[in-house]
Symmetry: C2
Subunit: 227 residues, 2 copies
């Protein structure tokens, strides 16, 4: 009997935003897997710390953070192989995912490598965009409004076209694309708020037109809502 891989969403940063289901699975886990960016500490492990069992084995997947895709894909290949080895002994593995596993989450790369050969279950988590709306006291969307999630990597033309037909939008992964995004928002006359590291000690909330920097942290989201 093969074990089950659980992709567990742990939310944006505040440990109290884990679900009861995530808590149950993590606190009972024998083997816990997570990503480490460039060999640094795992933020997912930090968020989950209050719920970790006394003893557990770890599968730390070292993830090179570079522009090229190949090194990251090789790291997912290796991580999937290590997880499969544990699953094949009949043990379950709990993989910790910041935010929600299927909402722009890195868990998808492990899911696609393992779900055909092993049992893989996903536990949804609080997304950064709902957490940010709560922090701002600003509804994401209501009634018959269209809500769009727009990665900041898209071209200025695409971004502008999408914003014109949305009442609400969350522009995600802003990072080094900030200057472009700011220009598009200014051209459309839209006011917007940038939030970095939502619900953590490092959280910052700033009006976009008050930001002088060219680059913001990668985990920055800009919320736009038309009046």
């Amino acid at each position: 009997m093969s074990g089950t891989l659980y992709g567990v969403g742990i939310g944006p940063g505040d440990p109290e935003l884990l679900t009861v289901k995530a808590w149950r699975l993590i606190s009972g886990a024998e083997v816990i897997a997570y990503l480490c960016a460039n060999g640094s500490q795992s933020m997912a492990l930090e968020i989950s710390r209050p719920f970790l069992p006394d003893t557990y084995k770890t599968i730390a997947i070292d993830m090179p953070m570079r522009m090229e895709r190949e090194p990251a894909m090789a790291a997912y290949d290796e991580g999937a192989t290590r997880i499969a080895t544990v699953l094949n002994t009949g043990k379950d593995v709990v993989f910790l995912c910041e935010g929600d596993p299927f909402f722009y989450g890195s868990f998808m790369y492990l899911f696609e490598r393992l779900h055909k050969t092993h049992k893989v279950l996903v536990v949804p988590g609080i997304t950064s965009i709902t957490a940010i709306a709560a922090e701002l006291g600003q509804p994401l969307a209501e009634r018959d409004e269209v809500l769009k999630v727009l990665p900041a990597t898209m071209s200025a033309e695409q971004l502008s076209a999408e914003l014109k037909t949305a009442k609400s939008a969350a522009i995600i992964k802003v990072g080094r694309h900030f200057t472009k995004v700011k220009a598009v928002l200014a051209e459309l006359g839209l006011s917007a708020t940038a939030v970095s590291h939502a619900t953590t000690d490092k959280q910052t909330i700033t009006q976009v037109d008050e930001i002088a920097e060219d680059t913001l942290p990668y985990f920055t989201t800009i919320l736009v809502r038309r009046k």
Copy 2:
């Protein structure tokens, strides 16, 4: 000293999908508020049942479910007044919101009536769309993909235009708009899955092109993801 109103997201239906923060606030609540549709039982109260304190006072806001907006707005007015009366005595009120309070949630109507005069805090919840993606084992969106949340009330033309420029979409509040949505999806050659009452005992998962009915439950979401 006025009390605080907490708008607490309790997720789509499975009580294990409440956050630890929601659990803490609900289990310690002196006064719990919720909506009752047409005087029936509150689904929010049912979802929260494992976490309810032994004794608590309730503010049950009876919500007429009709096409006209005025009766509902009058019910929110009256509910906000009842909540304010309790807050003014210095007591906190915990309002239970299915899903997430600021993601198409009814809490917004109370928020807009009370946040200028009282302290109102929002606790994010698991949204139906991430829960459905988890149940289906189908990612909502990844990497540079655009994700759109589209209320089924929009016209066939608008829906078609929005779907053409999205890799992923969640069509929400499908209910009596199903025939229109199905026709648009067929015209665009998109396969899609309809999920009703996600994560509850009543959950159904069906391929859209296999559904013969004209109308689906109001709380039906259709997930679309281009190959």
